[in-house]
């Protein structure tokens, strides 16, 4: 299985994502934002970081970079595109998934492990996962998901919420919401569910001795789903 990770100026989780994808069997290529064409890929990943210094709005400049037209075409043709953290911000700014990520409610950069609930498994990313609550890592200043009421209705009607912030028992209450995001939303799909944007970093949870293994479960499952 082939994957591509896009490096934007200011990306800093691109190498971690490469390590994670490679560890679980992907043949990964790094792609520079100024390239025009994507290599042949089964999965394209927009990594975390601070593309263009988070100027203007996070992800807004990166969403206009050269490679993004190919990424948008790839997504529109049904290809799997996953954006993590700043990658999620780039996805919303490019219009591939609805909404936007605002500044965290309490104006703090949040860097910690959190729990997320994954109960929406009718999609290529989470199909066949046999657990619902995952411990993952977040590190962001703008993760406060927001969309209009009309967009929210559409998102809920189409079952597009991918993951919710919750506690270790899977309770998705407001007090387990780290950043003020609407309805505890931590990640969403596009309508067709081939594009996934999420704030938590699965690539940071792939080593028992360093962090945890819940990211490993995600990547192992993902490559099996794509095969």
């Amino acid at each position: 299985m082939k994957s591509a990770v896009i490096t934007f100026p200011g990306s800093n989780c691109d190498r971690d994502m490469h390590v994670a994808l490679t560890k679980f069997g992907f043949k990964n290529k790094m792609v520079w934002h100024n390239d025009n064409e994507l290599p042949k890929s089964d999965l394209v990943v927009l990594p975390g970081g601070f593309s263009y210094g988070d100027y203007l709005r996070c992800g807004s400049m990166a969403s206009k970079s050269k490679i993004m037209q190919s990424v948008i075409n790839f997504a529109k043709s049904g290809g799997l595109v996953m954006g993590i953290c700043n990658g999620f911000q780039i996805l919303v700014e490019s219009g591939l998934v609805p909404g936007i990520l605002l500044r965290n409610k309490y104006l703090e950069f949040i860097c910690k492990n959190i729990f997320v609930k994954i109960d929406n498994k009718d999609n290529p990313y989470f199909k066949n996962l046999d657990k619902e609550v995952f411990e993952l890592h977040i590190a962001h200043n703008e993760g406060n998901y927001f969309c209009t009421n009309d967009q929210l209705k559409e998102i809920e009607d189409n079952n597009q919420v991918a993951i919710y912030y919750c506690n270790d028992n899977g309770k998705t209450e407001e007090k387990y919401n780290p950043n003020g995001s609407l309805k505890n939303i931590a990640g969403i799909f596009n309508k067709e569910k081939n594009v996934l944007g999420m704030m938590p970093h699965p690539e940071r949870m792939i080593d028992q001795s360093l962090s945890g293994e819940d990211g490993s479960l995600f990547f192992k499952n993902l490559i099996n789903n794509i095969k």
Partner: protein
């Protein structure tokens, strides 16, 4: 021509920075404040001498990059 545009958050969008500024002003003794909303201001010098055309160009920029219309409104406030 120089075109000035301001971008503001829509009414129903939470503005935590505005809130903190409001609280700080309150702490400094400015007690007459109802609300503070923070926005962005752009001055763009375009290679176009027709004011209407210049405005159109900057509006296009606002729609495509400078503002995110999910949460923000823009207004051209000056053309000179």
């Amino acid at each position: 021509m120089k075109v000035s545009a301001i971008i503001t958050l829509k009414k129903d969008v939470l503005d935590p920075q505005g809130k903190v500024i409001h609280q700080t002003l309150d702490g400094m003794g400015f007690k007459d404040v109802n609300e503070v909303r923070q926005g962005k201001y752009f001055e763009i010098d375009v290679k176009e001498n027709d004011p209407k055309k210049a405005q159109k160009i900057v509006e296009d920029m606002c729609n495509k990059l400078l503002a995110n219309l999910v949460i923000e409104n823009y207004k051209i406030i000056e053309i000179q």
